[in-house]
Structures are given as structure tokens and as C-alpha cells.
Symmetry: C2
DNA sequence: CGATAATTTGATCCGAATCAATTCTAGTGG
DNA sequence: CCACTAGAATTGATTCGGATCAAATTATCG
């Protein structure tokens, strides 16, 4: 996994990132390499994590060993919210990633500041629920690409730090299908795929139309 | 839609319901009949809602008119969290339902009290994401039934206030498939279906095994 | 009781999973 | 720097599950 310059944008000034969470004295920074675990299912929870650069996948393994990914976090995103004392999901770095560990206090002030961030997370999951509810898989992949573009600042040049399997486990399809639909989007002129971890969106309205079907 | 006695359990004393949210002077109570709208997509947001009895479905319509349901709320549940000033989803009563409108203050104290509830909501959506990620639809329906049983207090006699179409739109399948799989579960001895809006779970371990596949 | 909606069940078709083989990519050590 | 290797990605062939279309039955409500 190569270095991802776009995802490595500076934290300060990035929209939506609460400055009061950045740089507190007790916060620790860590670098993770591709695939390394940030926390595992069943481990004690309590901290929050902020992606400084790179990407993180959140998910779980079924009894049968099938992996399911329920979300990706990008630079500026905060993850690790848990209602129990144990993590119910794992978190792993996707590519070379920098993570800051936050230990927010439990007081009312901190809750108030974190509140809009949880709600944002909630909304994001809710939106993804609707994506997974779509029976035609083209619609799911189109929605994924549009979301990815939006979260990278609305640029047409989108980076895909995750593998096709990651995307597949996120969209609830096989990785072969992800590959095939991406191919179809290329043939239809929706996207250009300069290399395996980049996508250029050529026809955003076209992609949006696929989502809305 | 008939009255649902089990879902009509008293609020006070029900685990997980914050007493400080109940009975505030400015809170309003409303009764909704089956299918009536509590709020619509695009309406101004701001309040929270608590189900006193009955059931609520949260969802959205696609451009094409297909309905997608992203969650059900039961007695004691709070819904209506929004990150924007407008509702991004609709909320409709499923059967005869009582809803209390809460107008929590924006101060830090209130946020701190609401915090665990949002996180619980977040976790619930996250769990449902994993359900929707399952490719075999039997697993989705089994997971739905187990969740329903748990949220009605772990009883084996489960009430289904929603229609087959509601379930279908929630699980991302056709309503015919819901009907067929329910039939299969009956034939396999997992459940007994005394009437159209009730299910008795005869073999919970068996159902769990289906989820875990 | 009658009308309308919800549900069940059947038949057919299509899309995506699966199995399989090849090509491509990235990381390793010579 | 380049050959080597393991994993990732693509592409093809086949199978199977669930959507869709259709019809009959059952609930629900005025």
C-alpha cells in the first residue's frame, strides 16, 4: 500500500474537525501499517480514535469466518463509539495510517461537544443502511463512489485505499462482482480507473442517476 | 391493526428508559393510528420522540418511489436524532401507537444524559448494517426475529406489528420472499405462526444458528 | 356484508454467487 | 535493479437464489 497524499491532508482547518479534540496533552498518536489492528472485537473500549491520515475499516467476523465491514473512517473522522465496555467491532488500518487516541472526559461539557459528532456518525450509518437495502448492486457501488468523492472534498479524482474485497465486504457483495461492476462503469463512461487504487469520476450526474434508481 | 398489549407495557421501570425524560411539563403526548405520519422527510427537525406504546418505522422513499425502512422503534425507544435542521427520514406509526414529543434542552447537562441513548442507537444501526450485509436472506430474517424477540424482553411469543412489506423494506428483499422464508422457518420447526401478526419462537438456538451462518 | 388491502403460493427469469483460470501488483531477497 | 512469489484483481463459465409477474386466498375495516 502506497502513501496516499490526498488522504494525508492536514487536520487543522479541515471542515468538521473539532479543534478542542486536537492536541490535548494526554492524547497519543500512532502509526499503523496496512492491515494492522487498532482494536479487536471483545477488547475493552473507552477511548475514541481520530484518523489523522489514511483510512480505517470497522467490521466483524461471522462465526463462519466471513468478514463484514460496516464502515470506513477517513482523515478527520472519529470512531470507536461503544455502548458497552467492550468493542463490538474490530478496527484495522487500511494502508499506511495515522491514528490519534483521544481520551475524552466523561463530564457534561465533553458530551455536549462530542454530541454533534455522534449524531453525524449515526446519520452516516443510517445512509449506508439505505445503500445496503438496494437490491441492484450497481446502485450500491455507485452510492459508495459518490460518498467517497464527497468525503474526499467533492473532488472527481478519488482515492481507493481499500481493496476490492474491502469494498465487497462493505457492500455485501462478492469481490468479483465489485470488479465486474467497476468494469461496467468504465465501459459506460462513468469513471476512469488510472490505477487500481484511484478512480476518476467522469460523469457524476450519471453515477447519481444510478444511485437514485 | 389491533391493539398490541405486549408493546403497551408501562414506561416507568422499563430498563433503559431515562426517567428524567419522562413527564417534563412541556412534553406533549400524541396518539397515532396505523400508517399516520409523525414527521416527514424535509420537515424541520429539533424534537426527539419516545415511543410509549406501539411501533414506529423510520425510512425514506427513493426517487423511483421505492420505500426503504432503516429502522423500527418500539416502546421505550427514542427516535428523531438529526444532524441537520431538517429530517432526512420519515417516521410513521405502525399500528395504534402513542408517542411523546420531547424537547430536550441544548445544554451540556441534557447532552450528557442523552449521550448513552445516541450511542445505543448508533450500535443498533451498526448491528443492522451487518444484517443487511448478509447475502443469504434467511440469515437476515432470522436476525430480525431474534432482535425483535430480544427487544420485547426475550420472550418467545413475539408480536409483529408491522406488515410483511415493512419487514421486506427493512431487510432489503421482496415481501414475497419474506412470506416464503417465514413459511420455510415454520416447516423447519423454528417458529409457530398463530396469526399473521404474532410469531412464537420454538427453536431459538436454531434461529441463532441461521444468523451466524 | 362487501370492498380493499395484505398475504400466500406458484412459475419464470435474471442477476449475482461460486468455482476456476489467468493476469497484474507489490513486496522480498538475491 | 531485477527475478521471484504471494496476494490482489480481472475475466469467464456455471449454478442458484431471489425478484418479478401472476393468481388465489385471507384479513381488515367501514
Amino acid at each position: 500500500m502506497t502513501f496516499q497524499p490526498t488522504l494525508n491532508r492536514p487536520i487543522a482547518g479541515t471542515p468538521g474537525i473539532p479543534m478542542y479534540l486536537v492536541g490535548a496533552a494526554q492524547d497519543a498518536r500512532s502509526i499503523y501499517h496496512d492491515g494492522s489492528e487498532i482494536y479487536g472485537e471483545g477488547e475493552p473500549a473507552g477511548s475514541l480514535y481520530m484518523v489523522e491520515f489514511g483510512c480505517v475499516r470497522i467490521g466483524r467476523f461471522t462465526r463462519e469466518g466471513r468478514r463484514q465491514v460496516c464502515g470506513f473512517s477517513y482523515a478527520g473522522d472519529i470512531f470507536g463509539w461503544e455502548s458497552e465496555s467492550e468493542h463490538r467491532f474490530f478496527a484495522e488500518a487500511v494502508g499506511y495510517s495515522g491514528i490519534r487516541v483521544l481520551r475524552p472526559s466523561r463530564d457534561a461539557e465533553a458530551c455536549a461537544k462530542l454530541f454533534p459528532l455522534v449524531i453525524q456518525n449515526l446519520t452516516r450509518f443510517q445512509e449506508h443502511l439505505l445503500v445496503l437495502g438496494k437490491t441492484i448492486v450497481d446502485e450500491r457501488l455507485a452510492a459508495f463512489l459518490c460518498d467517497l468523492a464527497d468525503r474526499q472534498g467533492g473532488v472527481s479524482q478519488v482515492e481507493l485505499p481499500m481493496t476490492r474485497s474491502d469494498i465487497a465486504d462493505y457492500l455485501g457483495v462478492s469481490f468479483e462482482t465489485v470488479s465486474r461492476i467497476l468494469r461496467r462503469f468504465r465501459d459506460q463512461g462513468f469513471v476512469h480507473v488510472p490505477d487500481i487504487h484511484s478512480i476518476e469520476i467522469l460523469d457524476r450526474p450519471g453515477l447519481e442517476a444510478v444511485c437514485r434508481r
